[in-house]
Subunit: 201 residues, 2 copies
Amino acid sequence: MPILYDDPISGNGYKVRLLLAQLDFSYELVELDILNQETHTPDFLAKNANGKIPTIELDDGRCLSESNAILFYFAQGSRYWPGEKFDQADVMRWMCFEQYSHEPYVAVARFLHHLPEAPDPEVIAEKHAKGYVALDVMEQHLGENDFFAAGQYSIADIALYAYTHVAEEGKFDLTSYSNISKWLDRVSEQPGFVPMGSKPN
Amino acid sequence: MPILYDDPISGNGYKVRLLLAQLDFSYELVELDILNQETHTPDFLAKNANGKIPTIELDDGRCLSESNAILFYFAQGSRYWPGEKFDQADVMRWMCFEQYSHEPYVAVARFLHHLPEAPDPEVIAEKHAKGYVALDVMEQHLGENDFFAAGQYSIADIALYAYTHVAEEGKFDLTSYSNISKWLDRVSEQPGFVPMGSKPN
């Protein structure tokens, strides 16, 4: 059975756990504490030299890291990965957007608010400024589309849901983002949906 | 003929231009000046609401953005995209690594050194610290592998080459990175390779 190395606080890890739940895929969960440097032991670095979760160890011992690459791997052939070439690339496009223009601000603001010491207001202000730009792009897109790509729920939605639905933990105010709010509801109503803290079957 | 919107300074754009050259694929190039906000006009925002190059407009008018998603789109069925599912995901893994752990430091340090005003030394120090972590991960991987994924030259190498080969413009010192140096040579010796400033056929 594949082993998912993950930290329960991680939205990146939640992406993988949500997809695997929706696929009804069995796996073993090994929890590592990122704050306690448990992803920087020699054992873990042999699985992912970049020292980050989520990382998944397959039955043949090969390891795969980067949440969106893991989503891509497991979504192949499922309803969460569209069939047409442009649509597939558009799913990738929104997953790249998530990692470059959204996660470093929306996720990191939340992470900084979870640390024991109070976050630096200047750092938070920069995270908010850039995070709202990403949220604006999403809000506009969701004004004309129910989901991010291919006219269907896909791993692009899973990737963007993970940190958007907890953006308020990073002190983002989503009140005026009505399209995002409705999309968050649509995602949470998908068959097999599980909330963030859930464990594997 | 597809239209690539790009800025010649961009390594993200160079990724696409390098792959399209290696595929001997014809396209039209429209140059936009990011520093002059030419990616924030209403016309361009209708093509990519996130206001970033590279963005490509296909013959049917559909637009695709995010360099690594564009690479994914054009590499399908070519020698630059491996055939096996794990290998494909591993290519994605290194492209995600590039966008999250490499580009924000290695590329941004270069960008800041290209601006008219001198960069903030504290900002550069942070970019260097995190950029060297990414370079260390690459150096280690290339000690045991000629290329990043699937045992072959792929779009993962194209994605990582784009900003690594000009890291010194961001004042990174690659002298001690002998595996990276040999890999840079291997990439530049690939059939159809073109240097950064080259134009389409």
